[in-house]
């Protein structure tokens, strides 16, 4: 019997963040106005994407160490769900940016870096699709996954900080830390945790289906 408690926890945290994300008090800020509530929904997408990408990386490294095909399945499914969260984060960011920066897609280092980063990750799936032999596919895509992770992180989290960017937390712009008060944090952190759990849950469903598929094929 599988343990369900963490799924209920994730569901509860998500519901909490949706309810109090709208009812909770927020600081009054110029330009942001009520859109400050996007923090509860846009930022957790990126946090979840990061958590899933790190899980994917860990399983890729494990695969290279042990050569167990299960680890390759874990790595690929975590990566697949992380991309979904990345795309959702990007779309919500576009929407938010349109109302605070005045443009859906400004030519901004942070946005371009994320576009490139997500493209690098999409190549991972194209690479996977181009092998028939599962051990070869596992090995090469695990190596590529490590490369993708190692290029994504500096590209998205470090490079935009070295230049100017509209995005908070970059180029001398203060990060959300200074815009959020304690009341917002009480909603923000549960939202992040909730979405990470939901993302892991979805990934676990994909992994289990893939494993069933694998057993049937044997």
């Amino acid at each position: 019997m599988r343990k369900y408690w963490w799924k209920f926890l994730g569901a509860g945290l998500l519901l909490f963040s949706v309810i109090f994300g709208f009812l909770g008090e927020t600081p009054r800020r110029e330009i942001l106005n009520e859109t400050i509530r996007m923090v509860y929904f846009h930022v957790p997408m990126w946090f979840s994407m990061m958590a899933l990408m790190i899980s994917s990386l860990v399983y890729s490294v494990r695969y290279l160490q042990k050569g167990n095909i299960r680890d390759d399945i874990y790595a690929s499914q975590f990566a697949a769900v992380s991309i979904i969260f990345g795309i959702l984060g990007f779309l919500t960011g576009m929407l938010w940016g349109n109302f605070t920066w005045g443009d859906w897609l400004p030519k901004d280092p942070k946005l371009i870096a994320v576009e490139v980063g997500l493209l690098i990750y999409s190549a991972y799936f194209i690479l996977r699709g181009s092998f028939d032999d599962e051990q070869r596919r596992g090995r090469l895509s695990a190596i590529y996954n490590i490369f993708a992770f190692a290029s994504f992180m500096p590209l998205v989290w470090i490079l935009p900080r070295l230049t100017d960017s509209l995005h908070p937390g970059n180029g001398g712009n203060p990060a959300f830390g200074s815009d959020m008060d304690i009341k917002m944090r009480m909603i923000f952190y549960p939202a992040v945790l909730g979405w990470i759990i939901i993302g892991t849950w979805i990934a676990s469903l994909r992994i289990r289906l893939k494993l069933i598929n694998e057993t049937i094929n044997e």
Binding site: K7, L15, V18, I19, L23, N33, E34, L205
Partner: protein, 58 residues
């Protein structure tokens, strides 16, 4: 008093909140998110069932 009037010069959805209409929005979202989560649970149960079937075949 001066601070208060400054704070209120930033436009927020105060009217929507004072009328209580915001609860309608939140209630709608709660229905959608609960439905979405319930569906995820349903899928989870289906996968568990499938796992059991496959393991019995082995």
């Amino acid at each position: 008093m001066k601070l208060l009037s400054f704070l209120q010069s930033v436009e927020m959805a105060d009217t929507m909140r004072s009328e209580g209409k915001i609860y309608v929005v939140v209630a709608g979202l709660v229905i959608i998110v609960t439905g979405f989560l319930a569906y995820l649970f349903l899928l989870d149960r289906k996968v568990t069932k499938l796992e059991k079937e496959v393991n019995n075949l082995k």
